[in-house]
């Protein structure tokens, strides 16, 4: 799984928990295991305002982009975040 981030100054809160090819985003479970190779799941089909753009499976790997809220004075890693590739199951450590 490759998770990219799109930073935004916002009061929103984001928590992400990964389990296999499922993500629990702010307590909403989203299972991407059924997305076949080469397929694209449009963002409009996903009821989650934190997912931007389509969810795709490329080379067997799920690719998606999350809206990343940050506060004033956030770190460089939150302002210009790098993607997280193949994170371990469990709570995702988001750039602050």
């Amino acid at each position: 799984m490759k998770i990219s981030f799109s930073p935004i100054l916002s009061d929103r809160r984001l928590t992400v928990h990964k389990a296999g090819e499922s993500l629990t985003i702010n307590n909403v479970l989203l299972d991407f295991s059924a997305v076949p190779e080469g397929a694209t799941l449009p963002s409009g089909a996903i009821e989650c305002e934190f997912i931007l753009g389509p969810v795709e499976r490329i080379g067997g790997q799920i690719h998606l982009t999350l809206l990343l809220p940050h506060a004033d004075g956030a770190s460089e890693s939150a302002l210009f975040p790098d993607p997280i590739i193949d994170p371990a199951d469990g709570p995702l450590e988001l750039p602050q």
């Binding site: 799109s6 935004i8 916002s10 753009g53 809220p69």
Partner: protein
């Protein structure tokens, strides 16, 4: 604290009592007689009183006969060091900086204490790889261009955007239009039109709106 700021001149004044009295005097002076009761009996000309009864800062007049109000006790004063700071508000009243500048991977934003916010940047890129159905020789991007604002608006902003060719220069041949609404976090969706099926385009935008509602 509002203690008597004068030490007695007549003995005796035991050491322990002196320490207690001095501590009380220091606290009283350090907090400008902070309290709700008029400390006139302990004050002198030009003494300062933090009147917590009505949250006003007051100064004793030259004749030591009355207090003059200087202003709100906890008012926020802007200076060079805090004009540029995180803006905030409570019921529309500014509680933070006057201007806040934000730069992140999604562009530049400027917020002010009045609640206005300006964002500028560009959408993601797309390729005009799809033949336009009713105009021969014209192509458009079937996947609309969209982008995330660098700072969230409190309501969808007004956006002015223009298509731009991102893979080089050349003839001005791209135009475009909004094909989907934006949100408080994302720009509207845009499609552009080009005579080439390989042009990479993005939309450069300026968005003006508010970061809190009045």
């Amino acid at each position: 604290m509002q203690a008597d700021t004068q030490l007695p001149s007549a003995p005796p004044l035991p050491g322990a009592d002196l320490v207690d009295r001095l501590n009380a005097i220091i606290e009283t002076l350090g907090t400008n007689f902070a309290g709700p009761d008029d400390p006139a009996a302990f004050a002198w000309p030009f003494a300062t009183w933090a009147d917590t009864g009505n949250m006003l800062l007051k100064r004793r007049n030259a004749a030591n006969t009355a207090w003059a109000t200087l202003g709100p006790l906890l008012d926020f004063h802007y200076a060079r060091g805090n004009i540029l700071a995180a803006v905030s508000q409570a019921a529309g009243v500014p509680t933070g900086g006057l201007w806040q500048s934000i730069i992140n991977a999604n562009g530049h934003a400027l917020r002010n204490a009045a609640g206005w916010q300006i964002c500028r940047w560009r959408t993601q890129q797309q390729v005009t790889d799809t033949a336009y159905p009713s105009i021969s020789g014209m192509f458009y991007n079937s996947d609309p261009c969209t982008g995330t604002y660098p700072a969230e608006f409190s309501s969808a902003p007004h956006v002015v955007a223009i298509a731009s060719r991102e893979n080089g220069t050349g003839l001005l041949r791209i135009t475009g239009s909004e094909v989907g609404s934006g949100t408080t976090t994302t720009t509207p969706q845009y499609r552009g039109l080009s005579a080439s099926s390989t042009d990479v385009i993005a939309f450069h935008y300026i968005a003006v709106g508010r970061w809190f509602e009045v």
